[in-house]
Each structure stands twice: as structure tokens, then as C-alpha cells.
């Protein structure tokens, strides 16, 4: 579990939660633990695939080893409820779902927005609500309008739902007879954000908590643009044939919501806006 208490760095480089509160811990629920598949329960460890470039959901702490973030904190509690230890491994974002399918990871926790395509590949358990949020440089010097970004360079992370979003917008531009959008797809979300800080791209779009966090971290160099839209749940990614386990995970999240630790964790990272009260296995989306 990552709690880097000591933040530091001249530009607010820390990235740890603003509150100094320690991460709450919860007791295992034996009934839930009993529903964990034997293959997972065997060693008491659940292997988590996560792309640690997505602050504040999951990112590397200053020690260069620990993965921290609200996704991490929250899933650690889920694991505790299930009597497991969560072991996070860094993986390229676009290979996590395939990795869960193949058994390489026992679960994928990396701010996956639930969408029909992903539901075709995996069982997903919703645990948070996020929408898409745009950001641009402070003062919006390029005059970006999310609804009319034709002809601009826009940054996104490869493999995210925002790629589809921006591709659709670009096509709309073209059908309207305007310049298409130049879509710069980066390996890491942080590269996409940095591309806007540096002025290389006019704007970036990503999940709302990520953008909020980036704006906070870049000392006023960025500002949010427009409203959150396309609100959709984040989901834990589980293998398709483990509906029962998914149900157990759902119940564990519900238990955390019920006992208040869920909100505690979200508040710790300042993302309580996205809290939900009805975690669901394979929710209907889109």
C-alpha cells in the first residue's frame, strides 16, 4: 500500500493526498473471502495490472517503486475485504485488458471507463463515476472550444475512450467541411498533459479526476475547459468467466461504501465528486 507522507519538490511534485490522514484499513469479510476463486485465494495475493502514469488514479511515488493513487488505495481496501493482498504491477495501459483475459493479471485496476467494447472482453465492476474533461493552457490562448476544435492539435493517451471521442469530433469536422483535428496520441497520460503545458498541443482531454489533478499540480499553467460530459463509471476488470468473483468484488465495494471508508479514501484524494452508491457488475452503459 502506498502512502508517501513526505511530499516535496519545488513545484508541488509530491502527488500524495492533501490530507495527512493515514489510509484506513478494514477487516476481512470471511463470507466475501469464501467467494474468491481458489486460484486467486491460494497465495493470498491478487495481482493487479495498472498503468502507473495516470495521476491521481495510479502513479509512481517519489521512491520510483511504489504505485500510489486513489484507485490503488481503494482497491487495496477491496482486497482487504476479500482477505487478499493487492500487488500492483505496472503495465502498458493498452495491454492490461488482454493481460487479464490471459490470466497474466488477476484484475485490472487502471481507471478503465466501462464501455460496451470492454464489456465484450471482460467482466467489469463499477466503483467510481468519471466523465471526460478538457483542459488547456491558462487563459486559453488558443481559444479552444471543445465543441469546435477543428484544425487544432489535441492530446490524448493511446487506448483511452477519449481517443474515440476525439476521433468522432474530428470526423464531424470533416463532414462539416472543416479541417480535421490533429490527434496526438501519447503512450502515457502524463505525456499528453505535458504536451499542452509545453504548448505543443492546444488542449488535452482525459478523465475528469485526472484533469482536475493535473490542473492542481501544474501551478496554474493549465485550466479546465468546459464541463464534464459523458459521465461513465470506472470499472475493475476481471476475466469474463468469473462472474461470481465479480459479484464478490462488487459486494466488497458496497461494504466499503456502507461503512464510509470509501468516501474517506476519495476525500483523501479530493475526488469525492465521482463517488457512487451502487456498484454494479457489468452495468449497462453507452
Amino acid at each position: 500500500g502506498g502512502d508517501s507522507g513526505d511530499t516535496g519538490g519545488s513545484t508541488g511534485a509530491g502527488g500524495a493526498p492533501d490530507t495527512g490522514e493515514p489510509l484506513p484499513s478494514v477487516a476481512a469479510d470471511d463470507a466475501l473471502a469464501a467467494r474468491v476463486p481458489p486460484a486467486v485465494a491460494e497465495d493470498g495475493v491478487i495481482t493487479v495490472g495498472s498503468d502507473s502514469t495516470y495521476a491521481p488514479s495510479e502513479f509512481l511515488a517519489e521512491d520510483g517503486q511504489t504505485i500510489i493513487g486513489f484507485d490503488v488505495d481503494l482497491f487495496e481496501l477491496v482486497a482487504q475485504k476479500l482477505g487478499l493482498d493487492a500487488q500492483f504491477e505496472t503495465a502498458p495501459f493498452d495491454s492490461i485488458i488482454a493481460g487479464v483475459g490471459s490470466g497474466r493479471y488477476e484484475v485490472g485496476v487502471s481507471s478503465f471507463t466501462i464501455n460496451p467494447e470492454r464489456l465484450e472482453q471482460a467482466t467489469m465492476v463499477s466503483y467510481f463515476d468519471a466523465g471526460t474533461q478538457w483542459a488547456t493552457r491558462a487563459g486559453n490562448p488558443d481559444g479552444v472550444d471543445p465543441d469546435n476544435a477543428c484544425g487544432l492539435s489535441i492530446a490524448v493517451q493511446r487506448g483511452t475512450v477519449q481517443v474515440d471521442d476525439i476521433t468522432a469530433r474530428s470526423q464531424a469536422c470533416e463532414t462539416a467541411g472543416q479541417e480535421p483535428i490533429t490527434i496526438d496520441q501519447y503512450d502515457a497520460q502524463s505525456d499528453a498533459t505535458a504536451a499542452v503545458v509545453s504548448g505543443r498541443d492546444a488542449a488535452v482531454l482525459a478523465d475528469s479526476p485526472v484533469m482536475a489533478y493535473a490542473v492542481a499540480q501544474t501551478n496554474g499553467q493549465l485550466e479546465l475547459l468546459g464541463d464534464i460530459y459523458d459521465s461513465a463509471p470506472y470499472g475493475y476488470v476481471l476475466p469474463q468467466d468469473q462472474a461470481d468473483f465479480a459479484q464478490a468484488v462488487r459486494d466488497a465495494v458496497q461494504a466499503l461504501i456502507d461503512d464510509g471508508t470509501y468516501t474517506q479514501v476519495l476525500e483523501r484524494w479530493g475526488v469525492q465528486d465521482g463517488a457512487i452508491d451502487d456498484p454494479t457488475v457489468d452495468p449497462t452503459v453507452g
Binding site: 493498452d94 495491454s95 488482454a98 492539435s153 496520441q185 501519447y186 509545453s198 504548448g199 505543443r200
Partner: protein, 321 residues
């Protein structure tokens, strides 16, 4: 001690041709069998393991977007090599200049670009836009310099268009060409230095200028040494275009194949598709390189011929007597 005259026809029976039972090498055959079985297993696995999704791969590895990616990769390879070779020639001539400032600058350039990994360089260059855009707005310093010097045009272009230049294809091309220039410089220098100094001397004795001697006499002969490693560099460049994913250059082959993988969650089939594509493209170049090397290893030079002849003569000293 005995030995008749050589007319073997007179001998009673000509000694028979040797038709011996060859030695068996069971070890070798075991090794061969092991390799063959491993290969068979490998092929079987490829054929039957559902992870590979061959149908899916075949359907997706020749889409128009991928074919465009392959074209971009080839265009990038050629463009980066052309710029790199030109830059390399300039740097090599600078490196051999008697002026220590000029030669030192070339040395520094070559050292710098050979010492840093291309992916790091590409990543840096991709982010350079920030540098110059910022530089333009924040500092009056460049205007002072511009007043001072005569070559502002270039510098301004550089400064103003940072964000357009250091993006996508252009950024990737710039990074690869700058880096290649350093490697080519060493190759060209080796080529120039491989030419017998007697050649330049003969040209000078005929009253030819330095420049003309370099162009007409030295460089054409250096080509024999320069061309084969340039072929290797081209192959390496083709492979290194796959690094452009770090810029990113979204139109390039590797990016396109991975994008399909990301979109469809079929990472492995598209990774295999990448491997097959590069295997095919590189093999084509390798075949070209093979013929190039064959052609150039023959050598057209009297220099080489003379050296060879000298070596042969020395070797023959004894046996010819």
C-alpha cells in the same frame, strides 16, 4: 624406397576408387532432430494457440491505414538516410579540417549524438516545441543576437515554428537525421581516410585544388568503403523508425499496428503482425545489402589490388622461389 616412372597404364591393376562407409555422427543427428522437433512444436503452437488469432491478424495487418503506415516508414527511412548522409559528409569533412574549432565542433556533435539513445533523443525533440515557443515569448535576448549576426533567418524560423516543426513526422525525421548524421560522419571519415594519401598527393601535384581533389579523387574512392556500412545503417534506420512511437509519429507502421491492438484488445496478434512486417521489410533490404556488399567487395581500386598483390607476392616468396 621406390617409385616407378609415371605411366600408370603399365601397372597391373589401377588402385580402386575409395568408396568408404562414412562415419556416423549420432550427436549431430540428435541435435538436428531436437531442433527439428522444437521447430515443429513451435509451428504447431503458432497454428493452434488461440492467442495468435491468425485470421484476425491477417484481416488487420493489411488495412489501408497499415499500408499507409508502411509507406510512411519507408519514406521516413529514405528521408532520414538522405539527410543523415549529407550531414555526415559535412561533419566528416569538418572533422578532418585543420581548423581546431571546426574539427572540435564536429567532434562534439558526433560524440553527443552517438552517446545518447535514439529513443531519448526522439522524446526530447518531440518536446522541444515548448522550448522555442517559450523562448520566443519570454526573452528579448534573441533579438539582440539577431542584430549582432548575419544568419538570423534560420534562427528565427527555428524559433518561431518550434511547435510546428517539432511535431509528428518532422520531429521524428529531424531526430533520426541528426542522429544518423553522427554515425554517417564516422563512416565517411573512415572512408576518406581509407583512400591512399598518394591519391591526393598525385592530384595536388597535377595542380588540382583541395576541394576538387576531395570531390573528384578522394570521395569517389572513399565510396567503396562507405557504401557497405551505409547499407547497414539503412537497415538499422528502418528498424529504428519503430522508435517513432515515442514522438509519437501516428502515421508510422508500428504505431498503426499497435493502435489496432489497443482498439481491439488483440495485443499479441498485432505484435506478431509488427514482427512479420519488419521481418519482411528488413529482409528485403538485407537482400539488397547482400548484393551491394558482393558488388563492392570486388573493389575497383588499384589501391586494393596493389595491396593484395603485395600480400600475395610476399606469401609467394617461398613457394615460387
Amino acid at each position: 624406397m621406390a617409385a616407378e616412372a609415371p605411366d600408370t597404364t603399365a601397372r597391373p591393376a589401377p588402385p580402386e576408387q575409395i568408396r568408404a562407409v562414412p562415419v556416423r555422427h549420432p550427436g549431430r543427428w540428435v541435435a538436428a532432430a531436437v531442433i527439428a522437433v522444437l521447430a515443429a512444436m513451435f509451428v504447431h503452437m503458432l497454428a493452434t494457440n488461440p492467442v495468435f488469432q491468425w485470421d484476425f491478424m491477417l484481416d488487420n495487418m493489411f488495412t489501408p491505414a497499415v499500408l499507409r503506415g508502411a509507406r510512411t516508414t519507408l519514406v521516413m527511412t529514405v528521408a532520414a538516410m538522405v539527410l543523415g548522409v549529407l550531414l555526415g559528409i559535412v561533419l566528416a569533412v569538418m572533422r578532418l579540417s585543420p581548423n581546431p574549432v571546426v574539427s572540435g565542433a564536429a567532434w562534439t556533435y558526433i560524440w553527443f549524438f552517438r552517446a545518447i539513445p535514439r529513443i531519448v533523443l526522439l522524446f526530447f525533440i518531440a518536446n522541444l516545441g515548448a522550448l522555442y515557443a517559450r523562448y520566443e515569448f519570454g526573452f528579448p535576448f534573441d533579438r539582440q543576437l539577431m542584430d549582432l549576426l548575419g544568419f538570423q533567418a534560420d534562427w528565427r524560423l527555428f524559433g518561431f515554428d518550434g511547435n510546428e516543426i517539432f511535431v509528428g513526422f518532422t520531429a521524428g525525421l529531424l531526430g533520426l537525421a541528426l542522429s544518423e548524421g553522427a554515425y554517417m560522419a564516422e563512416i565517411v571519415r573512415a572512408g576518406i581516410q581509407s583512400v591512399d594519401p598518394g591519391q591526393a598527393e598525385a592530384a595536388h601535384a597535377l595542380g588540382m585544388s583541395r576541394g576538387r581533389t576531395m570531390r573528384r579523387i578522394v570521395l569517389p574512392q572513399a565510396m567503396r568503403v562507405i557504401i557497405p556500412p551505409t547499407g547497414n545503417e539503412t537497415i538499422a534506420m528502418l528498424k529504428d523508425t519503430s522508435l517513432l512511437i515515442a514522438v509519437p509519429v501516428t502515421t508510422e507502421l508500428n504505431f498503426q499496428l499497435r493502435a489496432i491492438g489497443s482498439r481491439t484488445f488483440q495485443i499479441i496478434p498485432m505484435a506478431v503482425a509488427s514482427i512479420l512486417w519488419y521481418l519482411a521489410l528488413t529482409s528485403l533490404l538485407m537482400i539488397g545489402q547482400y548484393f551491394l556488399e558482393k558488388r563492392f567487395s570486388r573493389g575497383f581500386g588499384a589501391t586494393e589490388t596493389r595491396a593484395q598483390r603485395a600480400a600475395r607476392r610476399a606469401a609467394d616468396v617461398g613457394s615460387q622461389k
